[in-house]
Amino acid sequence: MSESSTKPALPTVRDAHGNTRSVATLFELSRTGRQGVTLPPLDEGADETALMQSILPEGWQRKRPARLPEVSQLEMIRHYVNLSQLNHSIDNNFYPLGSCSMKYNPKICDWVGNQPAFNLVHPEVPQALAQGTLGALYTLQAYLKDLTGFCAVSLQPAAGAHGELAGMMMIRAYHQRQGNTARTEVLVPDSAHGTNPASAAMCGFDVVEIKSNERGLVDLNALRAALSDRTAAIMLTNPNTVGLFEEDILSITQMVHEAGGLCYYDGANLNAIMGRAKVAHMGFDVMHLNTHKTFATPHGGGGPGSGPVAANEKLEPFLPKPTVEQRPDGTYWLNHDRPDALGQLKLFYGNTEVLLRALAYLVCYGGDGLREVSEKAVLNANYLKARLKETYHEPFTQTCMHEFILTSRHQRADNKDINTMALAKRLMDYGFHPPTVYFPLIIPEIMMIEPTETESKETLDRFVQAMVQIADEAKTQPDLVLDAPHTTPVKRVDEVAAVKQLDLNYFANHAQGAGN
């Protein structure tokens, strides 16, 4: 970096390999007049004002040019490539983020989703010319029915939470159709995903929390006490968010049905039971699937996602439309003629390319392969649990499903300053993404670890070694843990300031560096 530079030095960081990488914003890199693309001049004699007016009426035109950064193409490419090198992803290292199923996306799924035969089909083309796409979606519906045991599927919802909302709207529509307007309460266990009470509340239901018992499962007495003629439904995920299978699931769904309520299954943890248990057989009426958690479509970053809903005969009429159906001659069509349906939740056929990736995943593995996926996910979680239970406190000792929880109780007993957050931050120095921490809320100082099926024993052993070493550091060199992370581009973040003093506008706070 030049010593004689008059401008302040642009910010850089060192990545995990010790290489210097620019983290300057495009505004800091901007220099007046620099261009990424040089456009040809206007034709000789052309009237720029009249030309602009023909494109956009004057009242809608900017008075001043937008304050856009001025950089060369190469600078822009380097900017984004350098930032991407600072990311952690499943493609560079282990990512045991419990409840999120950060599983590997087989690249062939992307290849399928990117085929021009699919992605060049304009959504407005006549259905007769989109038979390939419709056929693929029809096949996906059939596979999801088979996997869940339900009789009907709609691929419309654009995300897991969207599917959850659709499911709860179907339950509301069902009760309204039955004339049961007094059923206003939805039961949600205290370990539930936050989206469950949110979806119920969005549909106008009152949320009633059900306590977990000392084994981390739904307390049947608490459930019995909460059921009444006001009960509209229960929302459950099984295995639940502490990674335990609800052993009393058949009693739970039976009790809710006897009270006149319906049973909603949150598909977040479906990765644990594929090919082993069908959700419909557990007594549920409707569910959503997270294609990104279970079928390796892109995950995180705000989408695009997909959250198909599946339902039994009772709720099938209310599924969002259209559904894809097949005529006797083998051709496919979109069925909009569903008078009781919620309506259309998403333009066109839903997020088709995400759904195609899910289909590719299902086809690649097949029925036996999917069962093996779940078995390995469960095996990997139990292996880690067994290896770590001597070092970390284990609130629930029974065999877990695809994820499990530990706490920092032992480490806190030695040093009250150590908490789960500090241990999680230290894990980054070992190159691992930290597990989910402080969720669910029912266990203090919790961490939730989900290795997923695709990790090798060697990777799991490296993770165990890091976790054991961090526990040792907490005892012998607590500052190393308390000040972690030390090797990441950004060190310990002030989380309170990050929430309370949001810094969202470059020009409000850093206007000096602006190129213009």
């Binding site: 706490t407 109780r409 806190r412 969720f439 809320l441 203090p444 989380e495 309170v496 309370k500």
Partner: protein, 137 residues
């Protein structure tokens, strides 16, 4: 065992098992409501408190607001039935007062108590400390 005053719990404070406290003044029949030192510590740095409006009425156990920390967002529950007579608006700007002094500057609501008998079923300071020591990590 620790004593209530070690945690700065004012005499006569009663607690819910969901960690809200109520301090009732018998003469004025007005009570202060907030969350306990233990709840504040468990939540960690508190960044946001959403409280109801003056004049709103709540039954015992109703959700009266939300508290958000860097770790989690939680509902706040009404210790007894009552009507809101004042709200600590300073918490909107300085939610950290709940961490610093939950029983004094970090109070949340002032309420008139409709059914003083409901107070009898709540835990007193000593009982509450015993309760949280059992749950502590």
């Amino acid at each position: 065992m620790a004593k209530a005053e070690d945690y700065g719990i004012p005499e006569g404070t009663k607690f819910l098992d969901t960690h809200e406290y109520i301090l009732f003044d018998e003469d004025s029949e007005v009570a202060l409501v907030g969350i306990s030192h233990y709840a504040a510590e468990q939540l960690g740095d508190i960044v946001y408190v959403e409280l109801p409006d003056v004049g709103e009425q709540f039954e015992q156990g109703d959700t009266f607001g939300t508290i958000e920390s860097v770790k989690a967002a939680s509902d706040l529950y009404m210790p007894v039935s009552g009507t809101i007579t004042a709200v600590n608006h300073i918490l909107e700007e300085e939610p950290e007062l709940v961490n610093d002094s939950c029983y004094t500057d970090g109070w949340m609501l002032e309420i008139t108590v409709n059914k003083a008998k409901q107070l009898d079923d709540l835990m007193d300071g000593e009982g509450y400390i015993e309760y949280v020591e059992k749950a502590a990590v």
